[in-house]
């Protein structure tokens, strides 16, 4: 690097510099965020796959009426937790055919946040949508929720820390995307340019193609991702207009009905929820999908009925709030202002709750393109930097510390992360069902696998390591349908021909199979390149042995 390179050169060069560094410094974390986020488009389906105990019940040919389902869930909650601080009931809708109920209890003194979360995870039951009877308790797993949370909360740290770290990475990504576009004078032409097997040129083309092809998606997903937590990242407008009353702002912007009012401590039986559901269904033209009861069996009880936002872009969920003791309608969310609807739509674009199966698949593929963009970008840095050492290496020297570090991190992230995801799913099927804190064990398996891959890569950042980890990932991913065949009754032979409720399971198996094949192809490709390289080296060695003097002279 020449001195003053940033200072003297033009806009394009300085933007290229910014692009390289803002991308490189966060790329391994971004890869985790991108992979987990891409998988999270199917988090409900992943959760369902990870709870095989529920598969049979979900494949019901008919369903009981929504209002009856709600009444049965309420009855179950009355038996188990009449004094809970809150009840939550999820009713069947497109992507979920089961009825799930859970409750929260006021936290005991001295309970940590993690303990409270673990306690909450035990407090639920599932009803069969056909009979209304309780299903067998599913295994203790966080399913797709772990992947979804990992995507912005990270793990082994407070969610607040995780969100700031991911936010900084996302901001770097935004800067990298914009500076990358400025650097690129031939953005349209480059998109149609691919020169395979040309070393650095090919990596650059691959990076350009994956980045430009899905550029609108990358830009959208990065910006909207920042928007999901924008009031935390950028608090100054809130401070200017609301002072310290941040919760007032949240109430006004997110338009949620007043929650968290204290209980009156006067007992009053909860009114029947069926008339409320019917009233809501009449008003909306479709049934509510979630019921939230705060302070059940108290005179101050509130029943909030929430509707899935459906195919609208905005994520603002219409809701109606009823007095829990009398059953009278208290309020319903009105139409949001244009600005608030716009924010809701930007947020909605990120989580893509509105997407029908085809659009969701497209989002998933764009997410994979994002992973490819980050991965090829990270590799490109190593390839470029390595060229500076070409002479040193030819003379028998070693590449610099930075190149070695980046190579190792690349292996650990690009090849190691798929291994970690696959191990997470393997753990779900293989860990004993009665293991203590089983869902945490599954998460620990994910990080143990990733950690092992990352450390191995640091010890030996070689082509052989690439091949080993890619092959391992391929076998584990492609092996999932086979594992599923031996450990459950809902394998591909059943799910492909079963009812629509089982199709997500078939989809899961087929996608992991396809990802496994993709990783296998990558491993084969790396191996083939290695052979070529070795061939070139041995012929070079032969040439060198013919004329050893020339090397010494050099």
């Amino acid at each position: 690097m020449k001195p003053g390179v940033v200072v003297k050169e033009g806009l394009r060069q300085s933007m290229s510099w910014v692009h390289t560094w803002s991308g490189l410094l966060v790329c391994w974390l971004l890869l985790l965020v991108f992979m987990a986020g891409t998988a999270a488009y199917y988090r409900h389906e992943i959760t369902f796959w990870m709870k095989p105990e529920l598969h049979k019940a979900a494949d019901a040919p008919s369903r009981i009426a929504t209002a009856d389902a709600a009444a049965l869930a309420v009855r179950g909650l009355q038996q188990r937790a009449p004094n809970a601080s809150g009840w939550f009931i999820d009713l069947p809708h497109e992507r979920n055919s089961l009825i799930t109920a859970s409750w929260t209890t006021p936290p005991k003194k001295g309970m940590s946040r993690a303990e409270r979360r673990n306690a909450f995870r035990q407090q639920n039951f599932v009803l069969d949508p056909m009979t209304g009877l309780e299903t067998a308790a599913p295994r203790d797993t966080r399913g797709g929720e772990f992947i979804y949370r990992l995507h912005f909360d990270l793990y082994y740290m407070s969610a607040l820390w995780g969100r700031w770290i991911v936010g900084i990475a996302a901001m770097s990504m935004l800067v990298a995307i914009i500076s990358g576009v400025i650097t690129h004078k031939r953005i349209f032409k480059d998109f149609f340019t691919f020169r395979p097997n040309k070393g650095q040129r090919s990596w650059l083309d691959a990076h350009n193609a994956t980045a430009v092809l899905a550029l609108p998606f990358h830009l959208m997903i990065t910006y909207t991702g920042l928007v999901t937590l924008m009031f935390m990242y950028m608090p100054s407008p809130t401070k200017a207009l609301y002072g310290e009353e941040q919760n007032t702002m949240f109430g006004e912007v997110f338009m949620n009905a007043e929650r968290g009012e204290p209980a009156t401590k006067v007992a009053a039986p909860l009114a029947d929820v069926r008339p409320m559901l019917q009233q809501a269904e009449r008003a909306w033209g479709e049934a509510p999908t979630r019921i939230v009861v705060s302070h059940p069996n108290d005179a101050g009880a509130r029943v909030e009925l929430v509707r899935h936002p459906g195919q609208q872009l905005s994520n603002i969920e219409p809701s109606m709030t009823f007095n829990g003791a009398t059953g009278e309608l208290l309020s319903s969310t009105g139409a949001p202002s244009t600005t608030l609807a716009a924010r809701g739509a930007i947020y909605g674009l990120h989580v893509a709750h509105f997407a029908d199966p085809l659009l969701r698949a497209l989002f998933f593929i764009c997410g994979l393109a994002g992973c490819a963009m980050v991965a090829t970008g990270a590799l490109l840095w190593g390839v470029k930097e390595r060229q500076k050492y070409a002479k040193v290496v030819a003379g028998g020297g070693k590449v610099g510390f930075g190149v070695r570090l980046v190579d190792a991190l690349n292996i650990g992230a690009i090849a190691g992360l798929p291994v970690a995801f696959a191990v997470y799913f393997w753990a779900n099927r293989l860990l004993p069902l009665d293991a203590a804190a089983r869902s945490n064990l599954e998460a620990n398996c994910f990080f143990a696998a990733w950690g092992a891959c990352a450390i191995l890569a640091q010890v030996r950042p070689t082509r052989g390591m690439w091949r080993f980890q890619l092959t391992l990932g391929a076998l584990l991913m492609a092996g999932l349908p086979v594992l599923n065949f031996f450990t459950t009754d809902s394998h591909l032979g059943v799910t492909l021909f079963g009812g629509p409720a089982l199709h997500p399971l078939a989809g899961f198996d087929l996608v992991t199979l396809a990802l496994g094949l993709l990783l296998g192809w990558a491993a084969w490709w790396v191996g083939r390149k290695g052979l070529k390289r070795a061939g070139a080296k041995s012929s070079a060695a032969r040439a060198a042995s013919v004329a050893p003097a020339s090397r010494e002279a050099a």
Binding site: V7, I178, M234, T238, A240, I346
Partner: protein, 95 residues
Amino acid sequence: MTPTPWRYRGAVASRAVAAIGGGYVLTSIAIALIAIALPLPRADAVTIATLLSFVVYTCAILWVFATTSATRAWVGIVVCSAALGAVQWLVGGAA
């Protein structure tokens, strides 16, 4: 590989601080001013201003790296922040 001189490294570090830290401060002041200035209900104003924040921040960061010297970058960030801050202070005082 010629080693990178310390002066160059210092200039890059200085720009990085100006971009990340200075840019954040400038953005915070600018969007607070936008929120105050918008003639909309406050929920709308706060939303628009916060939505714009990442655009402002990105532009600030890129400008810091694009301008000719680290000194210039610092002067630009500090002067803009001070000017916007003064306007906000005056508006706040008048209201």
